[in-house]
Symmetry: C2
Subunit: 431 residues, 2 copies
């Protein structure tokens, strides 16, 4: 039962912002990390696209041939930090087939090909650990997979994209337009030159797939996730949220439906200020979980960056090294529940609809009838006069996305409706 004397040999694929940090810390802290793992951990090889000077890293560690690492019989553990789907997928599969365990930060890979990789790793008795793939430094994979293994998650809501949370925070706190803050975020390096993956919610959707799969013991891929980004959010939306003591956040939401399906989606949400997620500012991430016995839980921290991501990867390296030394494997995500994904049309939520209407008598009655005809119950109506038009702000009770969509279509056809300015989903305080 005591760890073997043979060291665990680590090969790394990629050496960018995250990888170079992992390599540096792994070499610097070898003694402590090895003591914690109960076995000596040795970084032996790093594959990069082109070899350059990495301060503090021995040039002899590097190769441009990643397959030489995943095929090296002396290497026990592959740390994949190259990102992207190919060749990462092929390399990981080859490594598993060669009986190597994997530590990866690659959300895109897992959200698309997780099932294949897990199945292959199961068959070979190898670990795939991926704490860094969601919410950077925040321990969220282990809490979901291990700590909550004795509980039943009913709902999960996360701020899992730092770039969009930074933009929304600046819009709320400094009253600045989306485009303006985005430009600043790009200049600061918080947003990519092509910001689509962040602002249109693709990054969050991959993370939603990974978290919901774990939480509900079902395989979920990024294609199962309904997705809307934040590019349409205006300062007017923000002002209305503020006036109602709410803030707008881009949330990844996964929940069990009454039909025992999983609803998984990423979209902007107006959330009550008293909810713990509402006070998560700037580029911080947080995941809020409700479980049957545990009740509400929240996990908060830095969701990105070289150092925070390296922290998560190094924790995984210690755990997997220990398993290798003990000839064991860690707790596994399971897919026994095999639930269906709920069509977005059946998902129930509250909505805020902001629309411009002609300012004449009978308009409110006519509009209220449209809502009623679609089965959507109105909770509050707020009416502001503006020139010849009036602005109506309508908050509904919980309705399905399908009912709401039909309502909006019907509203668009009314001659007295000048413009549907926005439709935003609404979440309350902790229930």
């Amino acid at each position: 039962m005591s760890p073997a004397d043979k060291p665990v040999r680590v090969g790394m694929l990629g050496c960018g912002v995250v990888g170079s940090q992992v390599a540096r810390l792994l070499l610097e802290d070898t003694a402590e990390l090895s003591t914690r793992a109960g076995v000596k951990i040795e970084l032996t090889r790093i594959a990069v696209r082109s070899i350059k000077d990495y301060p503090g890293l021995d040039p002899a560690l590097f190769t441009t041939d990643p397959f030489s690492i995943v095929n090296d019989p002396e290497i026990d553990l592959i740390v994949e930090v190259m990102g992207g789907i190919e060749p990462a997928r092929e390399l990981a599969m080859t490594a598993i087939n060669n009986r190597k365990s994997i530590v990866t930060a690659n959300k895109a890979l897992l959200a698309s090909h997780g099932a294949d990789l897990f199945t292959a790793a199961y068959a070979k008795g190898e670990d795939i650990y991926y704490e860094a793939s969601v919410a950077g430094a925040i321990p969220i994979i282990r809490p979901l997979r291990d700590s909550l293994a004795g509980d039943f998650v009913t709902r999960l809501m996360g701020i899992v994209n730092g770039t969009t949370n930074y933009i929304l925070t600046k819009m709320h706190e400094d009253n600045r337009e989306f485009a303006d803050v985005l430009k600043e975020a790009q200049a600061l390096g918080y947003a990519e030159a092509d910001p689509t993956a962040d602002i249109e919610g693709f990054d969050a959707a991959a993370k939603a797939a990974i978290l919901s799969g774990l939480a509900f013991h079902t395989r979920v891929t990024v294609d199962d996730v309904y997705r809307e980004g934040i590019s349409k959010i205006t300062l007017e939306d923000v002002a209305i949220a503020k006036s109602m003591d709410h803030v707008i956040k881009l949330l990844a939401i996964a929940e069990l439906t009454p039909a025992d399906e999983i609803s998984v989606r990423v979209h902007p949400v107006m959330i009550d200020k008293s909810h713990p997620l509402a006070s998560v500012r700037d580029a911080f991430n947080a995941v809020f979980i409700e479980a049957e016995s545990a009740g509400p839980l929240m996990f908060y921290g830095r969701g990105a960056g070289g150092q925070p991501t390296a922290s998560a990867i190094l924790g995984d390296i210690v755990a997997v090294s220990r398993h290798i030394a003990l000839n064991s494997i860690g707790q596994r995500e399971t897919d026994y529940a095999d639930r269906d994904i709920a069509p977005i049309e059946t998902t129930k939520t509250k909505f805020l609809i902001r629309l411009e209407v002609e300012d004449k008598s009978g308009v409110l009655a006519a509009i209220a009838k449209v809502f009623a005809d679609q089965g959507v119950s109105i909770q509050t109506v707020d009416q502001n006069g503006r020139n010849d038009d009036a602005e109506l702000i309508i908050v509904t009770h919980r309705a399905t996305e399908g009912e709401l969509k039909a309502t909006v279509e019907a509203l668009k056809k009314m001659s007295m409706v000048t413009k549907i300015s926005s439709v935003i989903r609404v979440e309350g305080a902790i229930s």
Copy 2:
């Protein structure tokens, strides 16, 4: 590598609020929990002080002889939820010597005799899992021990006692006196008839010992923890905190000192409203951690109650059952760092001192000199006239507890000082 066909047989010690919940859920959810563990989990025996009717639990499960369980060669895993130190310690030791793994919620036992139990379990190759011992349902042991195994914690601050947080929340939000809210909490069952363990910080101190030992890879016992409770906190203190945009919380704090020692303490703190811990209300718990690579992290949820505690215990049962089936063991706390505990006198923090002084000229100069003589630098002074006396509210820069204590002693000797009303430590926003 695939789990054995032999089921894992669980014996339970105790069947109170938490234990009965664990037993009920373990029987109700056997299929799911066994699938997640990869091995069938069977609850076979429960020891209680006196046998009574437990709804939903087969009377044949019960015995009044706990030693018959820890000595039963058919039982693999002991769930200790009886609490207290003896006979829990002797039973756990006997179980370990009989090669059984332990899942426990017993903070008092671990904070006093953890080192002995861990050493014995190491020697026998058994697990001791104890997620439920600190902060109820909140995953905090696993994140510290496993997720942060690749990182270095520098500081940890926790709201780990729900009763005191409930009382302080009511004092802040409803402007009610300590004694009044305590009485209500007792009536509601949130506080014990003898509330000393909660309000004087003994419960929090046990949790501080467990968390700081894990975080700093050192054995820490409850006797190492400096402790002050909340019974001296007045509505005047609360009002001053509010006026400075702070709230008063009972915090467990553990940090590395510049001398590479650990400072571990439990006491009331005025904390800046913008700090994530400041918005943790009512009986909720939260632990805030700063680590070198990860940066700031926070874990939030229900810290007590039958169901939340059962959630943590069941997660541990699944994990340990899996290890038993795989003939493996989980990640272990280590004590290799073996750091000294810093004497409280050397601990540095900011202080607020509220004192009544004669309202005449030269008083402030004389008092400022006392601070300067002890090496304590003043950050702000606020002076309120009240009848013949004046009230001074002084906030210091960071000073040692020893320097502050000497300052207070010197102030007490001054004839112009009528009363030292309170001394409260102050924490800022996230640095």
